[in-house]
Structures are given as C-alpha cells and as structure tokens.
Amino acid sequence: METTVKQNKPKLKVSTVLIYVFFIFMVIIYLAPVCWIAMTSLKTRPEIYKDPFAWPETFQWGNYKIAWEAGKLGIAMLNSLFVCVITLILTMLLGSMAAFAIGRMKWKLSGAAMVYILIGMMIPVHCVLIPLFVRFANMGLNNNLWGLILPYLTFSLPTSVYIMTGFFRSIPNELLESACIDGCSIYKIFFSICLPLSRTGLFVTGLMTFIANWNELLLALVFISDGNKKTLPVALTKFVTPYQTNYDKMFPAIMIAIIPTIIVYTLFSNQIVDGLTTGAVKG
C-alpha cells in the first residue's frame, strides 16, 4: 500500500502505525465517557431513556440549574473548597516544616521520625474511621468541616513530607552556609531561602493534596450528615437513591463535579502527572 517508505527506518513503520492506532483507540475509550456525560447532561429525561447515545434535540442548559439547586451543589462546592484549601495550606506548611527538620537539620531521631510518618502512607483510612468517629462525636467535631480537615491533613502529610524532604536535601549546602554567615536565623533560612527554592515541590504536593481530598468520599460520608455541610462527592452520591435515580439531574451534577478537576488537570497535567509519580519513583 505504502510505496514511498523512507529509507532510513523502513522496518519501524508498520509497528509505529499499529502503536498509534492502539493509542487512538485508548484515547477514545478514555475520552468518550466524559464527552458522553457532557452530551447526556443536556438532554431531557425521556430522551436519555429512549436512546442514551443520541445527540440531544435541544440543549437543556436548564438541567444544570436544576441539578445545582436540587443537589445543593453550590453549598457542597463551597464546603469542598473550604476543606480542601485549608487542608492544602496546612499540609504545605506543616509538611514542609517537618520535611525541613527531617531532611536538613541534624538530630538523632530524624530517621525514626521519617519512618513514623511514612508508616502513615501504608495505613488505610478505614481502620481509624471508627475510633475517630467516636472521638470526634464526643468532641463535637462531627458534622463540622474541621472534623474532616484534621484527618485529611494527617493523611496528606506523609506524601508531602516525603516529597519535600527530597527537595530540601537537594538544596546545596553552600547556600545555607552563606545565609548562616550573613546572620540568618534558622527560621529565616527556612522561610526565605529553602521554601522559595522548593516551589516546585510545594506546587506538586499542593496539587496532589487538593485532588486527593477533593475526591475523598468515605470520611466525608461518615463524618458529615448535615445536608448543609456535605462535600461535593457526598452530594453526588445522593442523586442515586435506593428507589430511583434522577438521571437528568445526575449527569449535570457529575459534570459540575468533574469540570473543575478537568480544567486544573488540563492546565497542569504535566506537573501533576510527573509530581504524582515523583514520590513513588524516589522510593
């Protein structure tokens, strides 16, 4: 079929084409569902049932408004934002502080502290769910967004400490020494020299923390029962009740929930993809 095969690599051609065909197929598998929700979210309910794969007759933008109001998605999104932003800031601050002490400062137990924190990576949330729930209920922290922030923060710390330690260790000694000679205090060295130099690390850990907590379902489901304090994933699951599913409201709700993540992801996909793997690769 192809007669003008390039001289320099005649053998590669067929296999490369096959690889591309394969990956285009994969892209379809991955993007089609998302495009399909987008399309379905603009249909009326009878249309959805009649032929779920047909193009909508008219775009029902009103679906979004109905879903937004019926699912209290506005409040849910604000709750999610509040929880995620506070967790993000605290994780970056506490995580990098601990990482700096563990990675750069000289004390006997630094190795032990690292191990202690890394154990947290292996422990599933499930096994602390009940004690935390009981304790928080006694402390009045259930149905309170701070009751979510605390465990989220704790479970985000290991990865961030891990990644930030790597970044702090890569800062050349000379920099710290000259700062020391200039009379910087250790706090100033940390806040004005090391932190700004590790911006990439902060950015990566920040994104990871945010995404993980934005999507978290189990803790949010257990700790929050007050309708006005629900986070976005919990609000989503409420569209499916045991008796019926409101598909015409559910699809716009799914869109509303995933659009922010998709936007952030398309903007920073390279950093996110690389960042999420850094931690594991270094280990």
Partner: protein, 299 residues
C-alpha cells in the same frame, strides 16, 4: 552552621505539629481500633465490653464476611495482575513513540484525578440493565446481561464490571510509574543490544523487564493497598444494593456495619473488619516486596 542546624528549639517547632497530629489522629486511633475490635459495643448504653476474640470468631461464621473477603481478595488479585500487564504494555508502547506521547499519557492518566464517586455514577448508568450499553447491544439484537445485577457465579458479574472500571480508572498510575522507570534506563544498553542483533521485543524482555523489577514491586504494592481500600467506586456504582446482592467488599461491609442507617453501629465488629483490612494490607505488601526484592542494578 552546625550549631544552627542542631538548634533543638527549632527542630521541635518544625517537627512537633506534624508528629502530634500524627499521633493524635492516626496512631492513637489505630490502637483504639485494635482495642475496639476486641469489644462489643452496646448501642443503648454506649459502652464497650471486652469480649476478647469474640468478634473474630463471629467473623468466621459470618457468610457476608466471607463474601466480602472473597470479593476483596478478587479485587486484590485482579488489580495486581491486570495493572501489571496493562501498565507495562502501555508504558512499553508509549516509550516507543515520540509524537503525541505526552498527550496519550495525560489522557490515560486523567481518570486518576477525577472523583471516583462521579465516574462510578457514570459507569453505573452505562451498565444499567435497560439503558446504556445494553441499549447499544439491543440494536444488534443481543440481549445484554444485567451487568450490575447478576448474582450467580463464584465471582459475580458486577464484581468483574467494577474491576474493569477500576482498571480503566487507575491504570494510568501504573503506566506512569513504569514509564518513569523505563526512561531512567540508559540508552546505551539498548544500542548495544541492537548492535548485537536484538529485536525491540527481545530488548524489552531482557533489558527493560529486569531493570524495572523494583518498580513493579512498588507499583504492585500501591495497587494492592488501593484495591483493598476500594470503596468509592463500589459505593457509587451499587449504592445500598451491596447488601442484597452479595457484592460487599471489606470496605463497604465495614461502612455498613459501622454506619449504615439500618443495622449499623456495630462499632466493635466494624473495627474487627478494619483490623482484618490492615493485616491484609501488611501481608500483601510484605509478600509483594518479598517477590520483587532485587539487588539494585547499575543503571
């Protein structure tokens, strides 16, 4: 300089918040959880009475627990094997192309960052008994199965469906880990092998595979822990149906015994399930690390 880095007060200021948080929110509750696992919680008086291993012997006779354990182990095995094969395949192929590599990589990774709850709802609809994929099949005159309702078989059909959805969602993670490792392998190794007449497939088999073995261990442990923790997708795809349809996994069963509106509040028993979960995580990681433990090659 040294004096500055040995400043005890500063060290405490830096480390204490994280460590205190860790102890209070993670390690103390784990201890409590192990204690609760040995107790029976009385809903009426809100008190715990020590019953030793009672919860665990109850577990042995509990048919739902058996189903949950079976399904969890199925997910564990399925995700370890399927992620290994698909992840390696994708990574191996992707490193062979230049144009569009980033695009493909980012697209395949995308579901990893999306909410499982949202994606679960989407797939639940696609596998709906009447609409969705079955609608497409009906056009060809095929009557599709009740993807999420079938209850026959050792591993029921819904479990297979969800396992594949999980593979779809998370394979990007394994792919990325393998790609990162493959790109760290020196090009000269491949060049030398091509000069010796190796084909690409052979080079993959005898150079790439051995050199990424440590990463296989890492990726597989992540998969194993992830699949044991598996909750979001199942909960959003099956909702409250898990109970009737023999579709529990450990995480959903724990959630139901602990917090479900009907028949919940068995904190002691739920904690015992949590303990089983942690122990399984530890065993899985240990076994995987044992299998893939290798001396580090020079790269």
């Amino acid at each position: 300089m040294d004096k500055l880095l040995k400043n005890k007060t500063a060290i405490i200021v830096f480390v204490a918040p994280a460590l205190i948080l860790f102890t209070a929110v993670l390690f103390v509750p784990i201890g409590t959880s192990f204690y609760y696992a040995l107790c029976d919680y009385d809903k009426a008086t809100r008190s715990y009475s020590f019953i030793g291993l009672g919860n665990f012997s109850k577990m042995l006779k509990d048919p739902i627990m058996r189903i949950a354990l079976k399904n969890s182990l199925f997910f564990l095995l399925f995700s370890c094997i399927s992620q290994l094969i698909m992840g390696l395949l994708l990574a191996g192929l992707l490193t062979n192309i230049k144009k569009g590599r980033n695009f493909f990589k980012n697209v395949i990774y995308m579901p990893c960052v999306l909410s499982s709850a949202a994606l679960g709802l989407l797939w639940a609809f696609l596998f709906h008994a009447k609409v969705g994929i079955n609608n497409l099949l009906a056009n060809f005159g095929v009557k599709g199965p009740g993807w999420l309702f079938e209850t026959s078989g050792f591993i029921t059909l819904p479990m297979w469906v969800i396992a594949f959805v999980a593979l779809w969602q998370y394979v990007g993670q394994s792919m990325m880990l393998y790609m990162a490792q493959i790109s760290g392998i020196s090009k000269s190794l491949y060049e030398a092998s091509y000069i010796d007449g190796a084909t690409k497939v052979k080079a993959f088999r005898y150079i790439t595979l051995p050199l990424i073995k440590p990463m296989v261990g890492t990726a597989m442990s992540l998969n194993a822990i992830g699949s044991l923790k598996f909750f979001d997708l199942i909960y959003s795809m099956l909702g409250d149906k898990t109970e009737n349809l023999k579709m529990d996994v450990l995480a959903t069963y724990l959630y139901r015994t602990g917090f479900s509106s009907k028949g919940g509040n068995h904190y002691g028993y739920a904690s015992a399930i949590g303990v089983v979960l942690v122990v399984l995580c530890l065993i899985a990681t240990a076994v995987i690390n044992k299998i893939f433990k290798t001396e580090n090659y020079e790269m």
